[in-house]
């Protein structure tokens, strides 16, 4: 892993199009500004992992469960 030290207001370039700026450092927390093309997805790691896990679980539901769930939703007038 590349390790770089940066001061407040300094930045890091990743390739031609991505810039990461140190905006604030306070009490063990670093605020970063990220400039990247909109084709590059930028996420907080923990959010990314939770969404990945939710997607995995969504993809693994057997059709029979979907059938039961769709009946349940229709019975509640939600369908």
């Amino acid at each position: 892993m590349l390790v770089l030290s940066r001061k407040l207001g300094e930045n890091i370039r990743i390739g031609d199009e991505i810039k990461v700026i140190v905006l604030d450092v306070r009490g063990g927390q670093v605020k970063l500004g990220i400039e990247a093309p909109h084709t590059v997805q930028v996420h907080r790691q923990e959010i990314y992992l939770r969404i990945q896990e939710a997607n995995r679980r969504a993809a693994s539901a057997p059709p029979a469960w979907l059938g039961t769930a769709s009946q349940g939703l229709r019975q509640q007038g939600l369908g």
Binding site: T39, A59, A64, G67, S70
Partner: protein, 154 residues
Amino acid sequence: MKIHTATLGVVEAAPESFLTLPDGLIGFEEHKEFALLELADYRPFRWLQSFSDPGLSFPVLDPHAFVPAYEPSLSEADRAGLGFDPGETPLFYAIATVEDAGKSVTINLRAPLVVHPTRRIARQVVLADSRWEIQHPILERARRAAPARAKASH
């Protein structure tokens, strides 16, 4: 066009149901071509079915049917990424997680599938607003079984 699915068998998919996800879904980036299928037996669910993998599909729901106050706010970058012109309205779908043999359902409001209705391009967008939950419950077991703990045994 007929497409093969592991879960639903062979189903007919109209070209209007095709969706391209240039980035795939989070954790499933390699799958980019899908059909959004509606099957009467599974209403109100729709199936986001991969073309490249018959075994890969995601149940999705219209989030507004369950959370009328849902107002996802897209950034300009998100809108530009999907090719929206000013005034064009995106369609939102929430990916649904069905568990407990179908007795519990949650929907992902934090990272909806955002669809450009005419270009048929979609992206899973992670909203900045943490008010929207990744697992928002819409169907729960009517009554949770009481914990099977015998007081007398202590």
